[in-house]
């Protein structure tokens, strides 16, 4: 038995990322390749009246909506977003025209003049009359329980946009093939999402294929958006008959692509005087931007997590995603949960304050334990670890003593308790019916799945699972680049599902492969019997019971749990809050590769600190007004404190080797822990980012 699971084996990426040999989309140049450019709207709402080309169009390929052979819609859930504007403009930076040219400088010098008739835009989600989705999750009787509660605490909490800032911007290239088909290669998380959208766009006469290129970060930002840019490149390639590459520069990437949904969450909570949660009434509003894209599923995950990791007999969560005339917001690590868990955890510290209780004691009293039911009525199984995470974090950080010791100083310490459902919500995985494929090779096996490596370690972790399940050396497992022509559709690389769900299918494929080999080596099998492929489908755990209409039941097969403690200092002159130490205690089943898992926690935690303290999207007239890395700052080494990462184990029987999902969990905790630490210093902060300008205007406690 090789036993690679649980060990930090060397990554499957090889040395290429460290030598510069690995090719990303922009590194590929093909003979005859053209550069593509997107001409975008400059108004938030209105109609296109005229388009004029103020340049010599010789040598240019120009595409507008009339060139679309199929349907002018980015097929996803609601099918409301066009690839190219026909007449109506719904947001700034909406694609209207596509240009391609062999010379990039000539291409970007081209001037297109567009005249519009403008309409009044809506920017405030609270003032918007159009909702993309409304969700109500009800348990018990919240109205009567609130009326009878000894204490009622209310509050409103807000979070802003967050930009992904993957260091590799969005980019693809499309290649017209000799057989009349088009292949799109690109930086992306979900090749089969792009394929579905491209099929609709290109119509039945033009077969399409999607191949992932090495991807320089995603974090959700390359979940749905690449379908758009892939379509644009495909249209230009089809019209020009040449390969076309579209690479966004940083400004275009920031202005035009998706961001984390801004949120407004309102809590009314009833408790006993001793601190027991009796009733929770929660209202969630997220700003969806101009098209539905993924807002309804972001809202779904956000609202399911809105009551936090707490036991409460009477809860009502009402959530809605509103349309505004801003670029569509979309998937971002955590998918709505960081916003709603932020509100819950800041609210919990305010409750503790009003009750005169220690924030730890309040959480200990109410934290979900095995056998409790969540807001959707899901009974938690054995692997629920809220209390274990809380106690470990409190003990390691000497939290109680520091809470006292820092009082009255410019230092603060705060914590947040959180959880994150792994895999698609409710019946999602059952609908998806993901598949994984394993092919026999001369040495071992090759994994063929659509799950993408975007830095998190998909290749390595999948290979570890297969190697141990088959009992062959890790080195003998190859991992193919996702390619819709050959890879099994293992579903999108999202929702903390790549290890738990896809890894589990691969584990079963490997067991099946081993049984078929029946003691023969791969080479012997190939020689005597011939090629062998095993393709299996996901089997959801039998206990999953979910009702999409009532939002009742098992929202996720399991949850990962965490408790973060942030220590920070407030500069009394600049009002800058600087984290000095972060402790992150997280339980996610079993780490398949401890070093990769630690990297997910460290990276996600720092993104969470950025969300809390630095990252502010300034929206002006419906557009991001600070679309550069100079003016939108993410944490540098100097903004990043020392971190103590603790991984607790509580195996999940439905995951490969006991693993749950991890990717998103780490970003749920840092922001509320930061705000609770700032509160500990004495500032009544209810929104993020906690930039100095905001802190200066905060009321003192």
């Amino acid at each position: 038995m090789t036993q690679s699971v649980g060990k930090s084996v060397s990554r499957k990426d090889g040395i290429g990322k460290a030598t510069g040999a690995t090719k990303y989309a922009d590194d590929v140049v093909l003979p005859g390749m053209l550069h593509g450019r997107t001409i975008r709207s400059t108004i938030p709402r209105g109609t296109v009246k005229s388009i004029r080309f103020d340049f010599d169009t010789t040598g240019f390929t120009i595409v507008d909506h009339r060139d679309i052979p199929g349907t002018n819609v980015v097929a996803l859930i609601r099918d409301d977003q066009p690839y190219l504007v026909e007449t109506e403009v719904q947001h700034v930076a909406e694609p209207i025209l596509l240009l391609a040219h062999a010379d990039r400088d000539v291409l970007f010098a081209a001037k297109v003049v567009i005249e519009y008739e403008t309409l009044e835009p809506v920017y405030d989600p609270l003032a918007s009359a159009v909702s993309f989705k409304e969700i109500s999750i009800e348990k018990g009787g919240v109205v009567a329980s609130l009326a009878g509660a000894e204490i009622v605490v209310e509050g409103e909490y807000r979070t802003g946009h967050q930009e992904h800032v993957y260091i590799e911007t969005n980019g693809v290239y499309a290649v017209p093939e000799e057989d009349g088909s088009i292949t799109v290669h690109g930086s992306m998380q979900c090749p089969f999402y792009a394929l579905k959208a491209l099929k609709g766009l290109m119509g039945p006469a033009t077969p399409v294929r999607v191949v992932q290129t090495e991807t320089g970060g995603g974090f959700g930002g390359k979940e749905e958006y690449p379908s758009m840019i892939a379509g644009h490149a495909a249209l230009l390639a089809m019209k020009s008959g040449r390969p076309v590459k579209i690479i966004y520069d940083r400004v275009e990437d920031m202005v035009a692509t998706t961001k984390r949904h801004p949120s407004i969450v309102r809590h009314r909570t009833g408790l006993t005087r001793a601190g027991q949660l009796i009733a929770m009434d929660v209202e969630v509003i997220i700003d969806g931007g101009a098209y539905a894209t993924l807002s309804e599923v972001v809202l779904s995950r956000g609202s399911i997590h809105a009551a936090g990791p707490y036991r409460c007999a009477h809860t009502h969560i009402r959530a809605r995603a509103m349309k505004t005339n801003t670029p569509p917001n979309g998937a971002f690590r955590g998918f709505g949960a960081p916003q709603t868990e932020f509100a819950m955890e800041v609210h919990m510290d305010r409750i503790a304050e009003q009750l005169g209780m220690c924030p730890v004691a309040l959480r200990e009293m109410n934290a979900l334990v095995p056998g409790d039911t969540t807001a959707t009525g899901q009974t938690l199984r054995r692997d629920a670890s809220a209390l274990e995470c809380l106690r470990e974090a409190v003990a390691r950080t000497d939290f109680i003593r520091k809470r006292e010791a820092y009082r009255g100083t410019s230092k603060g310490i705060g914590l947040a308790l959180f959880y994150h459902g792994a895999g698609f919500t409710g019946a999602g995985e059952e609908r998806l019916r993901s598949r994984a494929r394993l092919d026999l090779t001369g040495r071992g096996v090759r994994i063929l799945v659509a799950s993408t490596e975007i830095g998190q370690g998909t290749r390595t972790m999948h290979a570890q699972i297969v190697s141990d399940a088959m009992g062959i050396p890790y080195e003998d497992v190859e991992v193919a680049m996702p390619d819709t022509a050959v890879s099994a559709d293992s579903g999108p690389t999202v929702a903390s599902r790549t290890c738990m769900v896809v890894g589990r299918i691969l584990e079963r494929c490997a067991q099946e492969m081993k049984a078929r080999l029946a003691g023969r080596t791969p080479a012997e099998y190939l020689d005597t019997v011939g090629p062998l492929s095993v393709i299996l489908e996901h089997v959801p755990p039998p206990w999953i019971n979910w009702d999409d209409d009532t939002y009742q039941g098992d929202a996720y097969p399991t949850y990962a749990w965490g408790c973060d403690v942030v220590e920070l200092e407030l500069d009394p002159d600049t009002y800058e809050a600087r984290p000095t130490h972060v402790t992150a205690v997280q339980e996610f089943g079993r780490p398949i590769h401890p070093a990769l898992a630690q990297g997910q926690i460290e990276g996600g935690t720092v993104q969470g600190l950025g969300f809390a303290l630095l990252e502010r999207v300034v929206m002006r007239d419906g557009a991001m007004a600070n679309p550069t890395l100079t003016n939108y700052t993410i944490p540098t080494t100097l903004d990043t404190p020392a971190m103590d990462i603790v991984m607790l184990e509580n195996h999940y029987e439905g995951g490969p080797f006991g693993a749950k999902g991890l990717g998103e969990l780490p970003i749920d905790g840092p922001a509320p822990a930061v705000v609770n630490a700032i509160r500990h210093i004495g500032l009544d902060l209810r929104s993020i980012p906690a930039i100095p300008e905001t802190l200066l205007t905060c009321a003192s406690l």
């Binding site: 030598t19 993957y166 260091i167 590799e168 070093a595 993410i634 080494t637």
Partner: protein, 145 residues
């Protein structure tokens, strides 16, 4: 323009105002140098000019005249930092890695954690939270000594 590129004397024809980043990637075919922002903020385009790390997106090609330029390709593949970045998971998506390694390559031997932090402050990484990068740099240092 004549200059020394990764140890060899070269003569490259390109517009003197073209960004060194583009000359390296396009004219020289060295795509290990990455573009993350084009405005000197992210450090993905870091190269060494006469031994000092610079953002090649801010440098006009004219400044390479007579200089010694080292890109990630110039480290070969055997520099301790390269193996340590992979071993310690200092590279996740890898897009910041070439620039990060070049910035780390000029840190003094035995640099403290604080010196490493300061030395890498111009290089953004969105994946790792930097801790694994520090571990990689420290591992490479101990491997060198």
């Amino acid at each position: 323009m004549r200059f020394t590129l990764n140890g060899s004397a070269v003569d490259v024809a390109a517009h003197p105002m073209k960004r060194l980043l583009d000359v390296l990637r396009q004219e020289c075919g060295l795509t290990g140098t990455k573009e993350g922002c084009g405005e000197g903020e992210c450090g993905a385009c870091t190269v060494l000019i006469d031994g000092a790390p610079v953002c090649s997106c801010l440098v006009p090609f004219a400044q390479a005249d007579g200089a010694t330029v080292v890109t990630i390709e110039g480290l070969g593949g055997t520099h301790p930092l390269q193996q340590c970045f992979m071993d310690e998971v200092g590279a996740q998506c890898g897009i910041c890695t070439p620039g990060m390694i070049l910035a780390a390559a000029v840190l003094p031997a035995g640099a403290s954690l604080e010196e490493i932090r300061i030395g890498l402050a111009g290089n953004l990484c969105r994946c790792t939270g930097y801790s694994a990068i520090y571990r990689a740099v420290q591992a490479a240092q101990s491997r060198r000594t």
